[in-house]
């Protein structure tokens, strides 16, 4: 493996880690449900980036593409259902604040 490809893998891994930090921080710190979903999306983007880079580095682009297509389908379905749940919560409580839906808190 050439040094340039290894360097590309390391740099992309670093940026994927930074993206993961952004997503995790957003999910943990926000109380807005839509923004939490956006944080989740950013986390998925980090995973997608890692899969694509790994496929490029190892020369298995076809396998990486098939995995990413599966990931995108799952992501779209997950976001659709989550958005439906968020809209249901909004119609019940009138707000998107996660602090208003602590009815099950023990």
């Amino acid at each position: 493996m050439s040094a340039e490809i290894t360097h590309l893998f390391v740099v992309s891994g670093l940026f994927a880690a930074v993206l993961s930090v952004i997503g995790i921080y957003c999910v943990l710190m926000t109380f807005n449900l839509i923004r939490a979903l956006i944080g989740l999306e950013i986390l998925i983007k980090a995973v997608t980036l890692l899969i694509i880079v790994a496929g490029h580095v190892t020369g298995h682009e076809a396998l990486a593409q098939s995995l990413v297509i599966t990931l995108i389908v799952i992501e779209a379905v997950m976001i659709t259902v989550a958005v439906g749940i968020v809209l249901g919560i909004h119609s019940h409580t009138g707000s998107l604040d996660a602090r208003n839906i602590r009815n099950l808190k023990g």
Binding site: I22, G59, I69
Partner: protein, 162 residues
């Protein structure tokens, strides 16, 4: 290589902007930008089909979903916006600091990955890979799609009036 690093920097900047910006609509647009930049990276790394999927589904469909959801929910009042801004500043000021710290730490740690190279890929065509080799994935996709459809139907089903 410099171009790749510049695109990756743009990707992280768009993600950071979508998280840090005050307006939810701008957040959704920032997420779409993130998807577009990721599409460019995918195309440059030899994955054009996945790039098309990312562009049409993530930058298109999911952004439309977010914008529709934001427009279906009522906007905040001026007082709520002010309070929200103060709270957000208190919660999110640490994020750039953490990002810079993580970047510095990861740059200082000398990572020399030994990537075990698998044998060369026998099938280079993604269509053959998806339809012949990874059939189970397709079955899983169908099941997940049906689950999503039924989930949305149940969520939006109107209650039967007594």
């Amino acid at each position: 290589m410099q171009i790749d690093i510049a695109i990756l920097l743009a990707l992280v900047s768009a993600a950071l902007w979508s998280v840090m910006t005050r307006s939810l609509l701008r957040s959704a647009i920032g997420l779409a930008f993130t998807s577009v930049i990721l599409t460019i990276i995918m195309f440059r790394m030899g994955s054009p089909l996945a790039a098309v999927f990312e562009l049409s589904v993530c930058a298109g469909l999911i952004s439309v979903l977010f914008v529709s959801t934001i427009s279906l929910t009522h906007p905040l009042t001026a007082r709520e916006v002010l309070q929200h801004m103060r709270e957000r500043l208190a919660r999110f000021w640490l994020l750039p600091v953490i990002l810079i710290a993580v970047g510095i730490i990861l740059c200082l740690v000398t990572i020399k990955p030994v990537i075990p190279l698998p044998p060369p890929e026998p099938i280079k065509d993604v269509r053959v890979m998806l339809w012949d080799i990874r059939k189970t994935d397709l079955l899983g996709q169908v099941i997940v799609l049906l689950t999503g459809v039924f989930g949305v139907v149940i969520l939006f089903k109107e209650r039967v009036k007594k």
